[in-house]
Symmetry: C2
Amino acid sequence: MRISTRSYYGLRALVHLAKERRICPTSKIAKEENLPYDYLQKIFQRLKKAGLIKSVKGVEGGYLLSRPAKRISAGQIFEILEGRMASAPCLGFGQLSCSRARGCSSRDLWQKLETTINQALGSITLADLAANKKV
Amino acid sequence: MRISTRSYYGLRALVHLAKERRICPTSKIAKEENLPYDYLQKIFQRLKKAGLIKSVKGVEGGYLLSRPAKRISAGQIFEILEGRMASAPCLGFGQLSCSRARGCSSRDLWQKLETTINQALGSITLADLAANKKV
DNA sequence: CATAAATAGGACTATATTAATCCGATTTAC
DNA sequence: GTAAATCGGATTAATATAGTCCTATTTATG
Ligand code: SF4
Ligand code: SF4
């Protein structure tokens, strides 16, 4: 179970954006966080599509959070960037039901893992991270 | 963050093995759990290499747990099959240190995620799963 | 109005990992 | 001797990641 650089980069960039507290272009973030510019663009497009950030085109444009950092959880960020959370085939998306689900001894474990991760990440906000608050 | 079928298959197979409580060939498990035989072989070889199971060659041979199911945690299984746990580049393996580690606002999050997962999976034993104990 | 800075998005590539499959060798109970 | 099993190496196909590149569009500012 590995976490992609997309998540690492994305989180760092969002924390940066939260610290800025105003509109900020990807070029600035890429430079200051030492991240590949083109790739970061893609990440921000993805975050925008998911509604987490807003964009302004043109000179002096850039991105900004679409709601206060206090109302953005790490779990939301993670879900957007990482795609699917930990979850067994039988859980989560699109009712991929498994014929073995009844009485399956493994299912509970994957369920618990998913719940645990969601709780852990759901309780941390972007504001917490930006403030370097101990989580 | 996706979990591989290797983990799903492996856990199911190990629970099966724990329920059997005696030597059991992969052919039987593959058949009864409806898993691809050749792939399951590889999974068992990996588990053996890691010392989690023992093998007996030849007719009437197969695999068995190398210690009581009560002393095997889901975390141990997961670590063997999934390879690396959730962890930031700056954490975990081989001191891949990051020049940004000092004062990094993201680091705590990844650390917490890793700790949380380890705690959750470390507290569940294969015996629990085999007994269908609610986790 | 021209320009430069920015987002938007499609296409492409390279690499790595997963999820197998296949083959041949070895061991061993019967 | 044979069949059932592990062992291990090689190979493959599909998928995801981690980018890169190019073009279009928008817009503040001189
Ligand atoms: S075998 Fe069990 S854990 Fe796996 S998909 Fe089916 S119900 Fe879920
Ligand atoms: S940027 Fe922060 S979280 Fe990422 S590797 Fe460096 S110290 Fe760790």
